[in-house]
Amino acid sequence: MTMGTKRVMEGSMAIAEAIKAARVQVISAYPITPQTHVAEFLAEMVANGELEAEYLKVDAEFSAASVVFGSAATGARSYTASSSQGLLLMTEVLYNMAGMRIPVVITGMNRSVSTPVSIQPDHQDTITFRDTGMIQLYVEDSQDAYNTHIQAFKIGEDRDILLPVLVAADGWTISHTFEPVETFPQEEIDAFLPPYNPLYKLDPKEPVTFGAIAMAHNLMEFRYLHHQVMHHAKKKVEEVAREFKERFGQDYGGLIQEYRTDDAEVILVAMGSLVGTLKDAVDEMRETGTRVGVLKIRCYRPFPDEEIRRVLSRARTVCVLDRSISQGYGGPLTIDVKAALHNQRGPQVLSFMAGLGGKDVTIESVKGIVEKAQKVADGIPVDEEPEFVNMNWNIV
């Protein structure tokens, strides 16, 4: 196992060190609190010649995302970072990146979203990206931020995955806090993370079309394939975390991380820096005999439903701590966890994908859905969820 160098550094520097270690070739970022230090540290590294990369200064986050989208499409390892409104301004580009399967790594330095204007951390900004089709990893502290950024490239660039990866780190609590962080020798990082080798790339000598138009006969099929890859990414997130642990002795979990859950009657569920606090609280409560544990959700999308069920089914009570709100319903993480547990008892819930991209949903299709529901009520097991209605299976 490789021994690293432990130094006290700001969380933003831990992220910049990871980006440097990953030998990122193109960076574009527009400064916004609390992401600013990452953008500044990287600019300094490029200016000083410590990192051989193109650093493109742009007018806004939409442009920053567009630049790295394009550069990654040419096959260059690319990176951007933002917070809050800045992240939201990237939204349209992020959907495109994910759909075109371009593996950019993006730091979401978590900050609340206006209104009211705030520079304080919560997950309202990154939770908005739930349905973009990006992989989303939430980190717990500066070391986790360093480790996860390096892992993010390996996950996203894998030939079986090819997806952008968002690494969410709480602003201030991580970005501006100084902690001891262990960094590793460049040659060891290189051995873990080989250069990006794209499956398709933009090259004037061999032109291709990215992002061609889809119609009702193939859009839903396209979404189906993307959805399948997200499922497949669960294994990859676990695999890469395991390899990182073996090489560097660092373990912050894969999809999830359990902390003292074995005999826990109460399990606390959370994402991000809050998890550190929960672990400390659990240690204290354990001293007085309270059987309590923590389940960290490290990977928010794809959502580790099976793993969550496995852990939470042992508890008597589950407390989900959300750091964002879906106004009009509640905490997004709570909703997801409840959904993961729902089919344990009570009425069976079935899921159908219907009418995407203009695909017809006829009376006959609805009858088919009802028939399936009746069959399930009669005890026939559900094979695959959700069911994609009226799929053209010939083209997937």
Binding site: G99, M100, R101, I102, L162, L199, Y200, P207, V208, T209, F210, G211, A212, I213, A214, N218, E221, F222, L225, I395, V396
Partner: protein, 85 residues
Amino acid sequence: MKLNVGAVCGPGGSKKNKTGHWRSFRPKVDPEACNGCGICFMYCPDASIKIVDKICIIDYEYCKGCGICAHECPRDAITMEEERK
């Protein structure tokens, strides 16, 4: 044809995607009135018009029938007729 990763495909895909069947109205050129000035050519948003021998030629394989050419023609040489298929 199977969809590949990200549905990346060969170049020139928009050329293969013939959009003429979207048309509800068809531009019809009166060769007597047209003097080939090229204003329609400049305004056509789908590059479906060319000027050959001072006459406006419409490419019906791609023309979506928006009618901008008819609206812009200073000599009223283009009229929009209902498409019958």
